[in-house]
């Protein structure tokens, strides 16, 4: 009984001490003491940890460099792939813009039927100005059909295969078309040249040429529909000594960067050669 009471007393004492420590810890009074004991341990732990990390890095860094190089190469591949996709997307965007513009033009003139075609080549000879488009007789294209863009007249189809057609530009030195000056209200001709410049010729000397006057197809001769925009009068050459007046023309179509065109398929040029004596 006496021994038991001693053990009970010890247990109660230990329990009270534990409760006291817990009470001190919970009340925050023990933090300073614990801190002073733990801080050196944490410092030692930190010192060991940093040394251990250094040793681990020493042994594993070469492997990491190889991995990083692999990842770098892979990321570079991804970047170049994304860049090429971006370029393709931009290209598609440009083409879409062109097609939308052509579509707007086609909607604005519903009386005409159009076939849109991409420019796939240019004539190898520097003396002539022709383009090759990617639609031919399979798409209903025939010789003589007028070719336009949303800006204005491009030229006419002069040769056709099943899947391609050759188009003579209005800048070609062999191109002559009948036009009408809007403001001056007179008919004359637009002629191409070997340099790609376009000039206005056969202008009645009694007419006053005005810079900026709009030039439209007249429809005379039956080779082109009327009222398709060609360009503007750039610099009139009024000379008393010549039989007709001349002028340089600023075409509305950018023939250097021509990428897509519309072929007017419901226009049939008039072949009047049997009427020529």
């Amino acid at each position: 009984m006496k021994r038991l009471s001693q053990r009970t007393l010890q247990s109660i004492t230990i329990g009270l001490i534990i409760l006291g420590v817990l009470a001190l810890a919970l009340s925050g009074l023990l933090n300073q003491i614990v801190g002073k004991v733990i801080d050196p341990l944490v410092a030692v732990q930190g010192w060991f940890a940093s040394r251990t990390q250094a040793m681990v890095e020493f042994f594993t860094v070469p492997r990491d460099v190889a991995t990083l190089r692999q990842e770098n190469a892979s990321l570079k591949d991804q970047v170049s792939q994304l860049q090429s996709e971006l370029l393709a997307a931009r290209q598609q965007l440009t083409e879409t813009d062109i097609l939308y513009a052509l579509l707007d033009f086609a909607r604005a003139k519903p009386e005409n039927k159009y076939v849109a075609a991409s420019v796939i080549g240019r004539d190898p000879s520097p003396f002539v100005k022709y383009i090759i488009v990617d639609h031919g007789s399979d798409d209903g294209i025939v010789k003589g059909m007028p070719v336009v863009t949303q800006q204005g007249l491009v030229g006419k189809v002069v040769a056709v295969t099943a899947t391609a057609a050759r188009v003579q530009l209005i800048t070609d030195p062999g191109s002559i078309l009948n036009v009408h000056l809007e403001e001056a209200n007179t008919d004359c001709q637009v002629v191409g040249s070997v340099t790609g410049d376009v000039s206005l010729e056969m202008v009645n000397p009694g007419v006053t040429l005005v810079q900026g006057d709009l030039i439209l197809t007249s429809g005379l001769g039956g080779l082109y529909p009327s009222d398709i925009l060609i360009g503007q009068v750039l610099s009139p050459e009024n000379s008393d000594s010549t039989l007709f007046q001349k002028a340089t023309v600023q075409p509305v179509v950018d023939f250097v960067n021509l990428k897509a065109v519309l072929i007017i398929t419901n226009f049939r040029p008039v072949d009047y050669t049997p009427l020529v004596p």
Binding site: G121, R122, D123, P124, P126, F127, Q168, P173, V194
Partner: protein, 166 residues
Amino acid sequence: MGTLLAFPIIFILLVLQTTLFSQVTLLHGSVDLVLLWVAAWSLQKQVTSAWFWTILAAIAVAYISAIPWYVPVICYPFITIIEKWINKRVWQSPLLMMFLVTIISSIVSNGLSYVALALSGVAIPLKTGLVQVMIPSVLINLLLALPVFAIARDTAQWVYPLEVVE
């Protein structure tokens, strides 16, 4: 093989000519890649099918181009004839011959184009044609004569390997 190779190479040259090189201009003159290739190919001594290449190139260009068909049909064989003729005289310097043939063939080709267009009713002022097209075309052909010659020589050595005499 040398004969069959003419089809893809002439095709590739025509595609390059109509897409890329027709837009590489000096004033209004442009390079004639097919003409340069015919000239360079015919200059290779080991090439036995030069005439086939010449005729094929002439027909292909006559078909593709809007220039009167007889211009390449006359001009290209003329180049080969000139080369065969020169080859027997100044054979020691093929590079010099390439430049010489390029000048002659460019002048003949452009001159013939000018005359053919004049005959078909397209009047081009002589001074404009000469200054804006012919002379720049000759110059730009000369610029590209050397790389085309080098490629043609390597292709010829690959197609017609020279036998090693021991």
